[in-house]
Amino acid sequence: MTLLTPRRLFWVLLALFVLLLLCALVGMVVGPSHLSLAEVVRALLERDTSPAADIVWRVRLPRVLLALVVGASLSTAGVLFQALLRNPLADPFVLGISGGAALGGISVLALGAVVGWGYGAVPPAAFAGALLAAVLLFVVAGVRGRLSATRLLLTGVVFNAFASALIVFLASLAGLAQGTQIFLWLLGNLSAARADVAGFVALFLGAGLLCALPLARHLNLLALGDESAAQLGVAVERTKRLLLLATSLMVGAAVSVSGLVGFVGLIIPHLLRLLLGPDHRLLVPAAALGGAAFLVLCDTLARTLLGGRELPVGAVTALLGGPLFLVLLRRQDVRAFAP
């Protein structure tokens, strides 16, 4: 019997934090130019003018930090969507929320030039896209407050296909489709890493967690259904609206810098739920740490798997996440909640 106590919460999160640190170190050690662990640690601590310090501070640390915050954002958003939609299959990528964010971002890139909007308009457009997709999902897939797995997934699939088509169309229209850049972005990649970019995503991650953590206890009650949760004292509508906004902001920020990195919000919450149980007071912060560690590892793989050439990190997460998703679909607990 492992009921959640403050003690258990502390130790589990500490363990995950240490795991994240280890992954981050691995991510900074591994790369085209070989650095030893000692060199990395020294560079981090002293920040001198050695080439190692230069590589660590200018290249690897920003990259690892970006993977960390994007992974944490997507994974946290996954847990929150699953709780809000009462469905373990919910994930910002699968449900088309990421697609909506991407569509918003691309729209501004493609059409904004006409009215003189620069790259700065991409993040707000990505938020708007994510929020719109989320609202659309609730409206289309929800029948009297109940969201069935089938309708959710179908809505997500259709919306994703539609968003991708529009993205390609808009990109072609604006001549953005030169080379493979747009293709890489659609697959999700972190090569745009700069420290300030990571800071930008971290801001929204922090805001999202700040909203979600105090409400984690109420997310547990939402599992009983909206009406039962309300009868136990949860302000259901307010909670849902706030968290929908928070998740959309997190997904929007993550997508606007990394493109469509899929399945992080599915794999990590599911794995952690299996290991730690479904209590959101633990699951939400654990998903943030676990998602961060996972994407740092995936990005390290993406940078090194093909030797010199870089793989989009979204390809790595999809290669891992796709099969897992199918396994999940076949599991009893998920089917039991289909209509």
């Binding site: 699953q82 599992a223 009983l224």
Partner: protein, 259 residues
């Protein structure tokens, strides 16, 4: 002053009038059975009582005070509801679900205290489901889940219990146990229960009074013997029935063969 009362309550759902001018009062220490045909408005009445559907008109009174005035938490301390739908999407253990009934007793960021754990265990023990405590609710049968939800409502320690078909999926033994425990819970005289039931014979034996609903209106309210008459049931259900007497002298509803 009654513990809990509906005063001339009317409810419309999607523009359709579902309840019309229903008044009933729960006395302290009683189990009031809510019976009637499909679509008669039993569940809507229970949801209205719980504050989950807006009233077109009328008032819900808790200890003489309009329930609208109560905060969410105060309402959760006053009313515990066992819903019809007991499905849960995540693998919470039965104990974790029962502990959710303690939510209104917790602080804002709260973790459950030993007192909450004791209340949860006591509730599970009352219903004879301590053995399920560590099991995932995803693996439980429909009947077992219902027992867990009843235990959750017991753990909530509210003054008014509202049960919506909470024994529908239960076998004889568990149905008898749940109803006996509900009776036991209100017997102290400070609480009361409103129980929606499809089974008239069980309702006659475990409820102090019955309210018979038909087409959104309260047809008759009173002692089970007065309510379960041939004429009343024919009006409510529109079908020929006979009333027999059980060995306990209480009415037994017997279907006529028809034609």
């Amino acid at each position: 002053m009654s513990l809990f009362a509906l005063e001339a309550v009317s409810v419309a759902l999607d523009g359709r009038s579902v309840l019309r001018n229903v008044s009933l009062a729960l006395r302290r220490g009683e189990v009031l059975g809510l019976v009637g045909g499909n679509g008669a408005g039993k569940t809507t009445l229970l949801r209205a009582a719980a504050g989950s559907v807006p009233l077109a008109s009328g008032r819900i009174l808790f200890r003489g005070e309009d329930a609208v005035q109560l905060s969410r938490n105060a309402r959760a301390l006053a009313l515990a509801v066992v819903p019809q739908d007991t499905r849960v999407p995540f693998p919470f253990t039965a104990l974790e679900i029962v502990l959710m009934g303690r939510a209104p007793h917790l602080h804002w960021l709260g973790f459950e205290s030993q007192r909450d754990l004791d209340a949860a265990h006591a509730a599970m023990q009352q219903l004879g489901i301590e053995g399920l405590a560590a099991r995932s609710v995803l693996e439980l049968s429909g009947g077992e889940r219902q027992l867990v939800m009843v235990a959750r409502a017991f753990a909530q320690q509210a003054d008014v219990l509202l049960l919506d078909e909470a024994t529908a999926h239960l076998d004889l033994r568990h149905r008898a146990r749940v109803l006996a425990r509900v009776r036991g819970a209100v017997r102290s005289g400070t609480r009361a229960a409103l129980v929606v039931s499809h089974d008239l014979d069980w309702a006659a034996r475990y409820c102090d009074r019955l309210a018979l609903l038909a087409e959104g209106e309260l047809l008759v309210l009173g002692d089970p013997v007065e309510v379960l008459t041939r004429a009343n049931l024919q009006r409510a259900y529109g079908v020929e029935i006979e009333i027999a007497r059980g060995p306990d002298g209480l009415p037994l509803v017997v279907p006529s063969r028809g034609l």
